[in-house]
Symmetry: C2
Subunit: 233 residues, 2 copies
């Protein structure tokens, strides 16, 4: 890595979206510091994906930060609540699903901001998108814009006039667009992990909302899906 | 504790300000859930104060959440950087001191918001104040107001029209006012911990910016200061 490159912090969950966001940051020439939050999610396997992706993209630093949000509860992703497997379209009827983790993206972006300020980076990449998503409130453009404004009030750097930019290159992409973007950027989607409720043998369940969105994306893009699903129908 | 009481989350550091904010919440009849962040601060002793205060105020739940911000660095409170001991007035000349922890209050408020949503609480108490403080940007009213607006965009509850209120009862108090408030509420200031750089024998150093503000507050209030300082001049 060159010392002259501009630095960016990338919030890297290990999912397809954050992988593509990170690859875009790399393409744009950023020196990448990746931040992964180990929030005691039931799909801990995504942390291994985050490590693989960070290695593949040759990030300059990868911090995996433990933050046990299961202490708070309130989500199927951290609690002993069943992850829905029905065919209901995720986010349909403006319902926010039980896989919503209270204030997760705000918590994660705040941590990313703290790291950005500490590393003297001014660009933050996050793979949110507001098209093929699960209806979470903290993926919407209004939330991201609000966060960007608040970041300048919340920090020493912002206070001193050197503000932060939240880069959301996937904001208006469909899952199919994201699958195509992975192909264009030549990064293997099999590195990433999407499933909320992994099946035995480290397979994607193929039924949860997150798997359904992933499968649909590859289908619509006409790209072979390298994911190992327990249920493929 | 009654099941009928309104619930509030109180961000309880263990310092004088958060103790008084918590006591005000209790006086207002809230059922208190206290949240303390163990961010690997060098003054870990404040966690013991938080436990003592939570017990004294008979909170219904006290979560001490580990979150190792020393992984990020960038602050004298988490790194091996000297805590300033000079007599320089904290916050003088609009300088933000090295004890600033990047985006700390945003990170902590975001966590408090997540806990509030998970516990179905809508009120959040934080003991920030913008008079006798250290010039940190994330203690200012503009920041708190911005956070309150963002909280409604960031959460399921906010999205569904049931928004959050950030209660900052100390916002416009001097340290002297806060010392008087502790007396009025009959809560012993000796329960709280202020010092950034504890001296041997679990004494407050008496010299860091935080100790100086504390001492000055009791002096100006004309209230006996129960704090054990290593240096009292």
């Amino acid at each position: 890595m060159s010392q002259n490159k501009k630095k960016a912090i990338v919030l890297l969950s290990g999912g397809l979206d954050s992988m593509v966001a990170a690859a875009i940051a790399r393409e744009q020439g950023y020196d990448i510091v990746a931040l992964t939050i180990d929030y005691n999610q039931r799909h801990k396997i995504e942390l291994q994906s985050a490590i693989r992706i960070a290695e593949k993209l040759e990030v300059s630093e990868h911090i995996i930060l433990p933050l046990d949000l299961s202490r708070f509860g309130g989500s199927a992703l951290t609690d002993d609540i069943d992850v829905p497997k029905s065919g209901v379209q995720p986010g349909a009827g403006n319902e926010i699903p039980v896989t919503y983790v209270p204030a997760r993206n705000l918590i994660f972006l705040s941590l990313t901001l703290g790291l950005a300020e500490a590393r003297d980076a001014r660009d933050i990449f996050i793979g949110v998108n507001a098209l093929d998503y699960s209806g979470y409130p903290d993926c919407r453009p209004e939330f991201i814009e609000g966060f960007e404004r608040l970041a300048d009030l919340a920090t020493k750097a912002g206070d001193q006039g050197s503000g932060f930019t939240i880069q959301t290159p996937l904001q208006y992409m469909t899952k199919a667009d994201i699958a195509k973007e992975a192909q264009r950027l030549d990064i293997d989607p099999a590195l990433s992990w999407t499933c909320y409720d992994p099946a035995e043998g480290d397979l994607h369940c193929g039924l949860c909302e997150s798997c359904r969105l992933r499968k649909k994306g590859f289908e619509e893009a006409g790209i072979a899906d390298p994911t190992g699903y327990a249920v493929t129908s």
